[in-house]
C-alpha cells in the first residue's frame, strides 16, 4: 500500500503552508537569519548580527524601530551573507511587541465569528486598553471536552513597521510569530510536563506545557543584569526568582510539579553559563533548546538560533 504515503505527500504539497525562503529574528540585541533549503526542509545558511542598543526598542504600544535605516542595512548585510536576494520570509518578532493569552473555551460548537467575538471580549477583560488597530490571531487546541485557545495580539502599526522594513529589502514577510512560541514546535514528541524559558536582553518568556497542552504563557519585561565583574550567581538572582515564581504559580494552578525545563538564551555571550548555573541552582532537569536543533549551526549558536529552527519543524 504505497498509495497512502503518496496521497499524504500530495495533500501536504497542496495544503501545507510552504516554508519561507528564510527566517529572521529581530530582538533588541541582535538580528539573526536562517536560509532554508525548502526541498530538504533544512537550514542552508545563517547569520547573527549584533545590534547596538536603541536600534530596536521592542514595545507593544510604541514605535519599535527608531533607527530604521541602520536595521535595514543590517538586514541587507544579513541577506547578502546567506545569499538571499528576495523572497518570502518568516519573521520572529521581539517578545515584548506581542501579547499572548491562553484561554479555555467550553462551547465547542461556535462559529468563527462568535469565537472571535468571545475572544475579543475575554481579552478586553484582561487588557483594559485594547488599541484600535490591535490585530488578533488565535489557534485552537483540543483540551478534553473544551478547547484551549492561544491568542496573539499586537498593534497593526507595530507589525507594519517590521513588514515595511522587510518589504523595502524585497522580502515579503508572510509569517510573523514569536520566538517562544516557535520554540514549542521544536520540543520532542511525548515529552514530559515542561517549562520553556526564553531569555532575551529585555524580556523573559515562559511557556508551560502540562499533559501535552499549553498551560501557561507568561511574558515579562526584564533587564538581565550583565554588569561586568559581578559573579553570575548574583546576576542570576532576579531571573531565578522569576523562574521560581512561575513554577510555584503552576504548582498552585495545575496541582503538578514540573521537573523539566528547556532554556533558551538570546544573550549571545552568557547562554551556556546561565544554563549550567540553572542546573546547579534549580532542582530541575535543565536542557538548552540548542540540543533540539539537529542540523548543526556549529560553534554554540544553535541555542541562539533555535527559535528560527522552530519554524522548520
Amino acid at each position: 500500500m504505497k498509495l497512502l504515503p503518496e496521497l499524504k505527500r500530495l495533500q501536504d504539497r497542496f495544503l501545507e503552508v510552504p516554508l519561507p525562503d528564510a527566517v529572521f529574528q529581530v530582538t533588541a540585541s541582535h538580528l539573526s537569519g536562517l536560509r532554508i533549503a525548502p526541498r530538504e526542509r533544512r537550514a542552508a545558511n545563517h547569520f547573527i548580527s549584533r545590534l547596538r542598543p536603541g536600534v530596536v526598542s521592542p514595545s507593544f504600544g510604541r514605535t519599535n524601530i527608531p533607527d530604521v535605516s541602520l536595521l535595514e542595512s543590517k538586514v541587507r548585510e544579513g541577506m547578502a551573507k546567506i545569499g538571499l536576494g528576495q523572497g518570502t520570509v518568516a519573521v520572529l518578532l521581539p517578545e515584548l511587541c506581542v501579547r499572548v493569552f491562553i484561554l479555555n473555551l467550553d462551547s465547542a460548537s461556535l462559529s468563527q465569528k462568535e469565537k472571535e467575538k468571545i475572544i475579543r471580549w475575554r481579552i478586553g477583560k484582561q487588557m483594559p486598553a485594547v488599541p484600535e488597530d490591535a490585530r488578533f490571531v488565535f489557534q485552537e487546541f483540543p483540551a478534553g471536552s473544551s478547547k484551549r485557545i492561544v491568542v496573539a495580539v499586537s498593534r497593526g502599526a507595530v507589525l507594519q513597521e517590521y513588514e515595511g522594513l522587510f518589504s523595502r529589502c524585497q522580502l515579503a514577510a508572510g509569517n510573523l510569530s514569536l520566538p517562544s512560541l516557535s520554540l514549542i514546535n521544536l520540543l520532542p514528541e511525548a515529552g514530559e510536563d515542561t517549562l520553556v524559558v526564553n531569555v532575551e536582553e529585555d524580556s523573559l518568556s515562559f511557556v508551560a506545557i502540562i499533559d501535552s497542552k499549553l498551560a501557561l504563557y507568561r511574558q515579562k519585561s526584564f533587564a538581565f543584569d550583565q554588569a561586568p565583574g559581578k559573579p553570575l550567581v548574583q546576576r542570576l538572582a532576579g531571573f531565578l526568582k522569576e523562574v521560581e515564581n512561575t513554577m510555584h504559580f503552576l504548582e498552585d494552578k495545575e496541582k503538578k510539579r514540573i521537573r523539566s525545563l528547556w532554556f533558551r538564551s538570546g544573550l549571545p555571550d552568557a547562554g551556556v553559563d546561565i544554563a549550567s548555573e540553572l542546573r546547579r541552582l534549580l532542582a530541575l532537569t535543565v536542557r538548552e533548546t540548542g540540543e533540539l536543533v539537529t542540523q548543526g549551526s556549529g560553534n554554540g549558536e544553535s541555542g541562539l538560533l533555535s527559535p528560527l529552527f522552530g519554524q522548520l519543524a
Binding site: 506581542v98 490585530r135 487546541f141 519543524a313
Partner: protein, 188 residues
Amino acid sequence: MMNMDKIRLNLASRPQRNMRFYHACLVVLVFILVILTFLAGFFFIKYGFKDRQAKSSLGTVERQTQQARAEETQFKTRTDAVSKAEKGRVELMNSIIFRKAFSWNALLSELESALPDPSYITSLAPSFVGEASLDLRIKVVSKSLDDLLALINNLNSRNFKRIRVENESADERGQLITEITFNYGRAL
C-alpha cells in the same frame, strides 16, 4: 512536539499561503486555453479556407446563373421576336392544318345522331371561326315543336355551343322550319 499540534500563529498582514493548488489549476486552465486557442486557430484556418473555397464556388455558380439568365432572356427575346414575326404565318398554317384536318364525317355523324327521326335538315352553312372552331347555320324542318326541342336538347348534350334559334316559320303542311346557329369546336 508533545503530541500537540504545531503552533502556527501568524500575525502577518498578508499571511503566506499555499498557492500550489491555485497555481496547478491556473496551469491546467492555461493549458486548456492554449489547446482551445490552437484548436480555434486550426478550425479558423481550416474553415476559413473552406469558406473562401465555398465563396469562390458560389461566385462561379452565381456568375453561371447570371449568364444562364442572360442567355434565357436573350433566347426569350429572340423567341418572342421570331414568334411575333411568324405569328401570321403560323396562324395561317394552323388554320390551314385545322381546315385540312377537320373531320366532316364526325360533324355530320354528330348532327345525325342529334336529329330526331321525323326532322330533317334542308340547309347547312358552315364557316370556320379562328383556328379550331366552326360556326354552323342550319335550317331544320320539324313535324312538331317537341321534335325541335328534342333537337336543341341533343345539340346541347353534344359538342355544340352557343345554340341560338334565329328564325321560325311554318310551311303549307304545318311543319316548322327553323333556322338555328351554333358553334362546333373539336380538338384536332
